[in-house]
Symmetry: C2
Subunit: 283 residues, 2 copies
């Protein structure tokens, strides 16, 4: 555990304590009528005001809503890239993350991401038609979903065990991420060279190809997987390096789509980067 | 309106049509039992499954939830920076944005952003103590909130009128953004030079200073406002240029915090950038 992970763990612990104190305050407010509970009561009223579509306060379920506020803020700040390098989903939010991942909201969120990428494709592309216009896809939770694996591991609440994740990947049973198969083929139909660049190790190549084909992906220009010697570098460095090589081969990078900021930040930059929502892990 | 804005308007129109057709399908499903409605029914079931904390389907309020899903996805994708250059908040989402902006969820989201910036301050700063360690704050919806103004303009549903916005700014009545005053002074207490860099025009200087002081901000190193001749450049270019000048004067940029991606992307880069949630407008 590095200094940052420890600091994150400490922050999580503080939040836990705060939530516990709030829960204690809640029972105090419910049971007591003396003036000493009034300051707690006002804190409770502010935090307990849920963001319901009808807009009314819901003091009865204040405690539950507070945890929801907290986890929702955690998730949003992960997506904005304000929260980085987290080791695992906060324990108290793994249920929340699980519900989100199996919700219509998640489907709708990903749909909108893909829709924006398609809009960019429609409006901004003036392709040279020389076969060097390129698009980069990340693999896990971009083309194929690891949600069924994480479902068995508290949706990121347990820190990911790389060995068991790779054993699961070897089964070639990852489902396609919603809407992504269509977008993949939309790019191909425009004559764009599609590259799949992944941190998955080389020994999973045939399982990965099987899985991709089974889920409807085919016709990529190259599937780039990680060699053994690249194991010790950072994911961002790995991804940058792969893009550098593509640019060195003459490709123009129009876009990249990934569920990880480490795959879309760094140089060389494509014209546009699209981030698929993913609150389960951070690479 | 540029090509991109027109394309965005077209997309919004398509979404509207889709929502309308869904609403028509909803009444069909409710009223009809013939097999022709079965495909609509299954679409409705998928999309209508709300992301409620109890996790159950809520077909009765499916239509409402679908609009909520749509607006929530719009908002998330704005924050992730997948949706860019929007001219105004989609009409059908201005109520949603309004509710969010006055919710405990928004307060919680901003609180978490500031908390992460503080964590970075605590863990990562090894200051030289030579007075050249610097932090950049954006102004509107970072230090001071324009929410009361946007409340009168459908929370971004009407495209912002710069003249009326500046008339409102001249009144010096913008409230502080939650948690930001404390964070501002936490930076100062560490000996960090605080720069406020804003697209607000120079003629609003005294109104801006009044407003900042009234809300508890003081002791900044420099308040940088936009000169008249900088009116025609892009906001991103303006912000980059200001940072370039600070670096040229020897300052080390530790962090930047803004509610606009245009203020935190581009070079020179600070060590960390923090994005405050803001679904009301895009600069």
């Amino acid at each position: 555990m590095d200094a940052n992970s420890i600091a994150m763990a400490e922050t999580r612990a503080l939040w836990c304590l705060w939530l516990l104190s709030l829960s204690a305050a809640a029972s105090q407010v419910m049971g007591a009528s003396d003036s000493s509970s009034s300051s707690w009561s006002s804190i409770f009223q502010v935090v307990g005001k849920s963001w319901s579509s009808s807009g009314e306060e819901n003091l009865e379920t204040g405690r539950e809503m507070t945890l929801k506020n907290y986890c929702e803020s955690w998730r949003l700040n992960v997506e904005i890239h304000n929260i980085r390098d987290f080791y695992a989903v906060p324990d108290e939010c793994s249920n929340f993350v699980g519900k989100y991942m199996s919700s219509a909201q998640f489907k709708s969120d990903v749909h909108r991401t893909v829709d924006e990428a398609s809009l960019f494709l429609t409006n901004s592309f003036s392709l040279a038609g020389d076969g060097l216009d390129a698009w980069v896809f990340d693999l896990d939770d971009t083309l194929l979903s690891t949600e069924p694996f994480y479902k068995q591991h508290h949706f990121g609440g347990d820190a990911a065990n790389r060995t068991s994740l790779e054993e699961w990947m070897a089964k070639s049973k990852a489902p396609a991420v919603t809407d992504m198969v269509d977008f993949f083929h939309k790019l191909r139909s425009r004559g764009i060279a599609v590259f799949v660049v992944s941190w998955r190790p080389e020994h999973l190549r045939s399982a990965t190809v099987d899985n991709l084909i089974k889920e409807g992906y085919h016709g990529w220009t190259q599937l780039i997987l990680r060699c053994e010697e690249e194991h010790h570098g950072s994911v961002q460095k790995y991804n940058s390096e792969q893009r550098k090589q593509l640019v060195g081969r003459g490709y123009r990078l129009w876009g990249i789509i990934s569920s990880q900021w480490s795959s879309i930040t760094g140089t060389p930059k494509p014209r546009r980067a699209f981030k698929v929502p993913n609150p389960m892990y951070y690479l």
